[in-house]
Amino acid sequence: MSLSEQQVKEIAHLARLSVDDGELEQTTAELNNILGLMADLAKIDTEGVSPMAHPLNMSQRLREDEVSEIDQSEAFQAIAPQTGQSHFLVPTVIE
């Protein structure tokens, strides 16, 4: 199975990455080269094998639903590209 340039554009959009038209051919070739490596996977017999979700087969640890973090919003916002009135600012979404 190999990717078309159109598919690469769609994948790039899913990943919120831009691939310029000038890079498209090379990026497609590189991704197809990598996917070529995966072709063997399909040949492996995994009938009845369960997927391995965790290396130690452990389940998610639970804890009481109580506040464990102190409010550090100022420290966290101090490193943000743009903030205002305790919000992270981005370009206007709704006019």
């Binding site: 790039a12 080269n33 990598i34 063997d40 996977l41 369960s50 391995m52 290396p55």
Partner: protein, 481 residues
């Protein structure tokens, strides 16, 4: 001379007041500042000297621990309050962490001295340290060659004696392979042994932190500090941490070593194979027995890993979007443009490739064929180890098919992926593994890989320490050091 000493020796010297931590720290900072290895992204001179002064005060008043006043290089993947944590990426170049990773916190609590943040492949993706936004690291044994990756700065710093020890992380070999290529000792613990909190995630089900050192004894000392349960990491395992130095002197008489036949087939450089086999013979002469084992699915580790890891990274790295921290593009015209350009300008080409492979493999219609299939094969790979460990205590083999290669010699991703063949499978299984210096081929270091069963770090360190008592490969240094 001070820079040639091990952590164990430095610790004794500090305690006996043969030198102070400030003297030691200045000595290493001078060495770093004169070095051309590019092993560091950030050198934290002032912080280091302050930590050294505080350590000296503790030594003076008798409250020092074993690592008090010992300098180290911290891989730039661990968050450090007030110090840039870039993970080797432009997208995190502006990121000054507001908090400490648990590993950083533990090392601070042990009164160690952070010399700086070690260079690495961007976001831990790479096997040569050529993928760093801050430029490639050079191998101290031959500056035209790579140090390995992704913990390349860490390994080069220890091998070049710019730091007594370093931290690293290993998702698919990123501690063991650079340790092997630089002729030092490195251990990747069992998944869940060391906290991942504050360690910038690449592939969360595979990432694990560990030390890079000159000797196994030093690795045991640092493991004593790094390991342990952390409720801030949901995959941390609540299990008692042994004193890793306690069993170092045990005899390895009767140790059962397994050699996977798949690790010695085509593709392995003959000089590496000979060096590895000579090291195995050394273990035999110390009373260990050797038998062949089989890991029939080990070749499948490459496609499996290069599906699982990119899937996890495409999900993990979606948080780097230019909104809350890190790099933001100039003058975004709308939110979509902000995401697109911040990410496209911020990530390097290899990271983008892995994100796109992951986004594709997780997308509707392809999930079953790629991600789910890979997770099933991962189960088969882990079962292979389970079977092998019914017959043997430790599995040994090469770490890397070749010694360190020339800078710039790999032009495509796939050929470099193939070189990870011996290290990926144990991350997929969650097992611990080590690389220890085993000799040289064409004047470049060769590492021996030791793979243990779950939670067998003590045994690996014991076997490695016994080997290092009989050999001096770990004490060899590059010319000019």
């Amino acid at each position: 001379m001070l820079h040639k000493l091990t952590v164990t020796e430095l610790s004794k010297g500090l305690k006996n007041k043969e030198f102070s931590s400030v003297e030691l720290t200045k000595h290493f900072l001078d060495r770093i500042n004169q070095s051309d290895l590019n092993a560091f992204i950030t050198v934290t001179d002032d912080l280091a000297l302050n930590q050294a002064k505080a350590a000296d005060a503790k030594i003076a008043n008798g409250s020092a621990g074993i690592l008090t006043g010992i300098p180290y290089a911290h891989k730039d993947i661990f968050c450090t309050t007030g110090v840039k944590t870039s993970a080797g990426s432009k997208i995190l170049d502006p990121f000054i962490s507001p908090y400490d990773a648990t590993v950083s916190h533990k090392l601070n609590s042990a009164d160690t001295v952070m010399l700086g943040k070690a260079n690495m492949d961007e976001l831990a993706m790479g096997s040569s340290n050529e993928k760093s936004y801050y430029g490639p690291v050079k191998n101290p044994w031959d500056k035209n060659k790579v140090p390995g990756g992704s913990s390349g700065g860490s390994a080069a710093a220890v091998a070049g004696r710019l730091s007594p020890f370093a931290t690293g992380t290993d998702t698919g070999g990123s501690i063991r392979q650079p340790a092997s290529l630089c002729g030092i000792t490195g251990i990747k613990p069992t998944y869940g042994r060391v906290s991942r909190y504050g360690m910038i995630a690449y592939a969360s089900s595979l990432d694990q932190a560990g030390p890079l050192t000159q000797t196994a004894e030093d690795a045991a000392l640092v493991m004593n500090v790094m390991a342990g349960f952390d409720d801030k990491d949901s995959t941390s395992v609540d299990r008692a941490v042994p004193d890793y130095t306690k069993n170092l002197e045990n005899s390895i008489e009767g140790l059962k070593i397994g050699l996977p036949k798949e690790f010695f087939s085509e593709g392995l450089d003959s000089g590496v194979a000979e060096t590895v086999m000579a090291a195995v013979k050394e273990f035999e002469s110390m009373g260990a027995s050797v038998q062949e084992v089989s890991l029939p699915n080990s070749a499948h580790a490459i496609p499996t890993y290069y599906i699982v890891a990119p899937c996890e990274c495409s999900s993990n790295l979606s948080r780097l979007d230019g909104v809350r921290y890190g790099y933001r593009c100039e003058d975004p015209k709308d939110l979509e443009d902000l995401y697109l350009r911040s990410r496209s300008e911020g990530f390097g080409p290899e990271v983008k490739r892995r994100i796109m492979i992951g986004a594709y493999a997780l997308s509707a219609g392809y999930y079953d064929a790629y991600y789910l299939k890979a997770q099933k094969v991962r189960h088969l790979i882990s079962e292979d180890f389970k079977k092998a460990f019914q017959d043997v205590d430790v599995i040994m083999g090469p770490v890397s098919p070749t010694t360190a290669f020339d800078l710039g010699s790999f032009t495509d991703s796939v050929s470099m992926y193939l070189a990870d063949i011996y290290t990926l499978s144990l991350n997929l299984a969650g097992l611990p593994g080590m690389s220890i210096p085993a000799g040289f081929s064409n004047n470049m270091p060769v590492g021996l890989q030791l793979i243990g069963n779950y939670w067998s770090e003590e045994l690996l360190l014991n076997a490695a320490h016994q080997f290092q008592g009989q050999t001096d490969w770990h004490a060899q240094m590059p010319e000019g050091v």
